[in-house]
Amino acid sequence: MMREKILMCGNEAIGEGAIQANCQFYAGYPITPQNELTAYMARRMYEEGRVFIQSESEISAINMVFGASLAGARAMTSSSSPGISLKQEGISYLVGCELPAVIVNIMRGGPGLGNIAPSQADYFQAVKGGGHGDYKTIVLAPSSVEEAFNLTRLSFDLADHYRNPVIILGDGLLGQMMEPLPQILNSKLKIQNYPKDWALTGCLGRKPRIIRSLLLGEGELERHNQKLQEKFKSISEKEVRFERLYLEDAEFVLIAYGTVSRICKAVVNNLRGKNKKIGLIRPITLWPFPEKIIRETAEKIEGILVVEMSAGQMLEDVKLAVEGKCPVYFCGRMGGGIPTEEEIYEKLSQMLI
């Protein structure tokens, strides 16, 4: 029987997105609030005859993903904030060795063990590199369960296309809330097939290959870095994604991503009903960051309010994009606090809207 809609939490939708993207390998370690994803993969990967491993640590999981990826498979791991910190060395190696992988971070409150409530405080870690060395990872920030599914599918294509890790950055609220997903089980979206003529499969009929990031020759590592930077430049030109709302006549604009953008959307729609000229920019890719639309918008408006579940991390990228062309205000909650519509109205009224 065909079902038109099914109900899933964000964590499960990410899992199903990975299954439908032909993810062949998953390794993960339990941590709240992303456990539904690991449990979903345990069941579904088995059903599909693919590889699931509950690893002994997040470090081991990312290195298993490294192995599966270099062997040519689409591979994923997931965790939440403290666990993602543990994966950073592995992510740096993946970038250095130009290996594709998908890493899911369902953020919780920090620093330290923090709590298990929703947070966006790992923004810097995700978009600025996170591990050692000069590098970037593509960062996708879904704001609904359906978008979590779709962006996960996309993330595997981006990872393979650019031979670079992609991070899905969600938060505990997105991971655990349930929403209907239309027709995903009947999804017939085409799986792109990327030739992996670099993978280690045994050297039968060809010269042996080496996967490495260790480059000791004179100038070798600098040239490798230049090549990586060219790739990052190309990604930042081609892969910017964002959603815009009422920018045509907006005098003030809210900027938020993920869960918080939905609260902001409610605020914007409500104020539009009161004839306030307010708009919204929702970055979908946090790196590459949609700086062009923000800069263009800043030239035409009276002010921007950035709303985040952090002390103001994306705020810095917004300010860099705005280049002082309009005032930038901030409304943030930390440590598991979620900004309320009232708090946002209050902040807007201080901005004389």
């Binding site: 290195n63 192995g67 599966a68 270099l70 062997a71 499969t201 045994g202 039968l204 080496i210 490495r212």
Partner: protein, 259 residues
């Protein structure tokens, strides 16, 4: 190189010229960076000879460690990857699970396997991953300049145990092979040494068995090889191989530990 078979008579010269030594197909014809008297070169070669003899070169994937053998892929003529420090068993797990028909092995030193990578080796062994582990124990960190290893023996002087390893201050040398042998997922563990010709041959035999176990899908196999490091033992190569026999084997006895 030509070696004449001295036992043959001179009027049969053409038949007497017999090639008894050549580079294994699994080995690249390049100079190694290892210090004189180091055991890594011997062990690299033994692995390559075994891979040739088992005719698995074109289906083998090696995982190199961080440590002195970090450049092993420059010497091996088959697919090889690097791994972050201590994580070769996790990387090998990922490869082997995706390509179960390929032959996957890790090459790890004592710091890589028995210090920073302790969790990975224990859990990979405990899962019974069908891989081969070559564990080179030279009781010291070579790459970083001679610091204490988890396997440094009591009294042994290193950069970080300048008066000798003291159990009270530095803990005891780790017998990780004996620990691993306790795990149900492990089918074969043997400790050998490359300090003399006989032991080199026994080491080759052990390496061959560890690869054969994988070919026959038997499960996790590990060969620990006691290997000289004259540079950071502050000895001549001759003193170093003697030290293995007189000191190291007292704490790390040679032989089959399991299987």
């Amino acid at each position: 190189m030509k070696i004449t078979n001295k036992t043959s008579s001179t009027n049969q010269t053409s038949k007497a010229l017999r090639k008894v030594f050549s580079l294994p197909a699994s080995m690249r014809d390049v100079a190694m960076h290892y210090c004189s008297g180091c055991g890594h070169g011997i062990i690299h070669r033994l692995i390559c000879e075994v891979i040739d003899e088992l005719e698995i070169r074109e289906k083998t994937i090696g995982v190199a460690p961080v440590g002195c053998a970090v450049l092993a892929y420059d010497y091996w003529n088959f697919d090889t990857t690097e791994a972050s420090h201590g994580r070769p068993p996790a990387v090998a797990t990922g490869i082997k699970r995706i390509l179960p028909e390929r032959i996957v092995f890790t090459y790890q030193g004592d710091g890589d396997l028995a210090a920073i990578g302790t969790a990975e080796i224990i859990h990979t062994a405990n899962r019974g991953e069908n891989i081969t582990v070559i564990f080179v124990n030279n009781a010291v960190y070579g790459m970083t300049g001679g610091q204490m290893a988890p396997t440094t023996i009591l009294g042994q002087k290193t950069e970080t145990t300048p008066w000798g390893r003291d159990a009270q201050r530095d803990g005891f040398p780790l017998k990780i092979s004996e620990m691993l042998a306790l795990l149900s997922g492990v089918v074969y563990v043997e400790r050998t040494a490359v300090n003399n010709a006989k032991n080199v041959l026994l080491t080759k035999k052990a390496i061959k068995k560890a690869f054969l176990n994988q070919i026959e899908n038997k499960g996790f196999s590990l060969v620990e090889i006691l290997s000289p490091c004259p540079t950071y033992w502050r000895m001549s190569p001759v003193e170093a191989v003697k030290w293995i026999e007189t000191e190291m084997v007292k704490y790390y006895p040679l032989g089959v530990i399991k299987g």
